[in-house]
């Protein structure tokens, strides 16, 4: 079966700084794949390279078996959409929700824009009363729902999630995670999600890759991580850290 997303020897360098080096991975259609790491690990750079907003230095990215070139056409942009971390920064401050959702449809020349917008809002649980609001009239969770609706309105096959819940309150995070799971099941979507939170990644993803300093450390199934079946010390450290603070750990008191 052709993987939904295949990455071969990907490298990204900004001037003389190597942000990403020799990353290869493959995500099956309908699968949910997680990228975990701390700041500077290159996980967000990887996501942006796949989205086509960061220039690739070496290697190749293929979506549904088609290798994406340096200059992408509209159709290949459509296949890969992204939800950003900060719901306050990812919606245009001067546009209504209606306008935000209309824009992708207008760019790609979709018909029945009216029906699609109404449907998209329903799908993310907002309803049409939100349609003509500006983003400053929405809460963080509602904004993130709009961002998800905007990404899905183009009917992509891959959804890239860049820390989609880390700026949200815990209770809102649960709602958004549930929504994402439900949409993935309903639309057979492929997810690639970046997060620093191991609990969120293991909750939403089947497999994950741990990254450090722009390189992959280890690739494993979420179940193995949960069971503690890890081979690398770095992963073990992350796992321990995610369990919270333990007083005896500090060793002084």
């Amino acid at each position: 079966m052709t993987p939904a997303l295949a990455i071969e020897g990907l490298g990204v360098a900004f001037d003389d700084f190597v942000a990403l080096e020799d990353v290869s991975l493959s995500v099956a259609p309908g699968e949910s794949f997680g990228l975990v790491g701390e700041s500077g690990s290159g996980k967000s750079t990887l996501l942006r390279a796949v989205a086509g907003v960061t220039p690739v230095s070496t290697g190749a990215i293929a979506v549904d078996g088609m290798i994406l070139g340096k200059r992408r056409d509209k159709a290949s942009y459509r296949k890969v959409q992204m939800v950003f971390q900060d719901p306050y920064g990812s919606l245009h401050p001067r546009q209504t929700v209606d306008r935000l959702l209309l824009e992708p449809l207008a760019i790609h020349g979709f018909d029945d824009t009216e029906g699609r917008i109404v449907h998209a809002l329903d799908e993310v649980g907002l309803g049409s009363s939100f349609r003509f609001r500006y983003s400053h009239q929405l809460s963080g969770g509602q904004r993130q729902r709009v961002a998800i609706a905007r990404a899905l309105i183009l009917e992509p096959s891959i959804l890239l999630l860049d820390e989609p819940t880390s700026a949200l309150d815990a209770s809102v995070q649960a709602e958004v995670l549930n929504l994402l799971e439900q949409l993935r099941a309903a639309r057979q979507l492929t997810f690639v999600m970046v997060s620093h939170d191991l609990a969120v990644v293991t909750h939403l993803c089947d497999r994950l890759m741990v990254m450090q300093n722009g390189r992959p450390v280890e690739e494993l199934a979420s179940a193995d991580l949960a069971a503690g079946k890890v081979t690398q010390d770095y992963t073990r450290g992350l796992l321990a850290a995610s369990k919270g603070f333990r007083r005896e750990r500090s060793g002084w008191s």
Partner: protein
């Protein structure tokens, strides 16, 4: 649907508008309320509206002809009944000339704004968004224009094009776009790397679409404010050119030219120069107050509340 009828105010201020129109009107209403809360800004608006009314109904409002004076009986009369602001050396009624002159002032101001602001906006946003050599070339051109004092550059252009009100307008427009380009570029740089612009790029939008539909609307409010604040300067530049004999030509009642001709009698018949001077002062003040008010009303940081 809702059976309770909302007052018009509630309809405008609702946080769940039902249509595009309502959302837009609601937003405008919020800005308007913020604007009217500022008393000085309202005074500015009243002054400018007064100027517009004066210009529109000049033939009805002016008591005398602005061009034909009574040289025999009415030369350099002091202000009094019949000629409220006195007459000039040609025996023309100064009040009537001021009223007709408002048309020229408004014309200059509007044309300069219509020509200069879009040029500045386009140059600035394109330079800011494109970056690289496009940015370098456009901004160096802007810097060259900025390097000359405005009036001197306008003088040079008028000298080359020939004196006249039309050429004066073109000259002023050509010299006043660079600051707008600078502002638009600065504003563009702050938003070009934001996630919402990235999101539109991800949809496959063309650079032109992003600049025109997503970046420009963000720059417009600060530009409008800057343009209204500059109006006073534009009027003064136009008056300066008129004063130097390079703007409006006699017998056009342009305010700057009127001051220039009144200069000869400034000690004995002070009102000839003072009246147009005062008119320039009031209109400049009006635009300044309006600009200040708009800055507060359109400031996007305030729109969240």
């Amino acid at each position: 649907m809702r059976d309770v009828t909302m007052t018009r105010r509630e309809w405008l201020l609702t946080d769940r508008p039902q249509s595009r129109m309502q959302a837009r009107l609601g937003r405008a209403y919020v800005a308007w309320r913020r604007f009217t809360a500022n008393r000085l800004a309202v005074i500015g608006l009243v002054i400018i509206l007064g100027l517009v009314v004066l210009a529109a109904f000049a033939p009805l409002l002016a008591p005398h002809s602005p061009y034909i004076g009574d040289l025999a009986k009415a030369r350099l009369l002091s202000p009094g009944p019949g000629h409220w602001l006195g007459t000039d050396d040609q025996g023309r009624d100064i009040l009537s000339r001021l009223i007709y002159g408002s048309r020229l002032t408004l014309q200059v101001v509007l044309l300069v704004a219509v020509i200069a602001a879009p040029i500045g906006l386009l140059v600035g946003t394109v330079a800011g968004y494109a970056g690289g050599w496009v940015d370098a070339v456009l901004m160096r051109i802007t810097d060259i224009f900025l390097a000359f004092p405005k009036l001197v550059l306008a003088l040079a252009f008028v000298a080359a094009l020939g004196p006249g009100i039309g050429n004066a307008i073109i000259a002023i427009a050509i010299t006043s776009w660079p600051p707008y380009a600078r502002i638009a570029r600065a504003e563009t740089l702050t938003v070009r790397n934001s996630d919402y612009i990235l999101a539109v790029q991800l949809m496959g939008a063309s650079p032109w679409r992003i600049v025109l539909r997503h970046i420009m609307p963000l720059c417009i409010s600060s530009l409008i404010v800057r343009v209204t604040l500059d109006m006073a300067g534009i009027i003064l530049t136009a008056a300066g050119l008129g004063f130097l004999g390079l703007g409006a030509q006699p017998p056009l009642p342009e305010w700057g030219a009127m001051i220039a001709s009144g200069r000869r009698f400034i000690l004995d018949q002070w009102w000839v120069a003072a009246a147009p001077g005062f008119a320039i002062l009031i209109v400049s003040l009006g635009f300044n107050l309006l600009g200040d008010g708009l800055r507060d009303a359109l400031d996007p940081r305030g729109s969240g509340q």
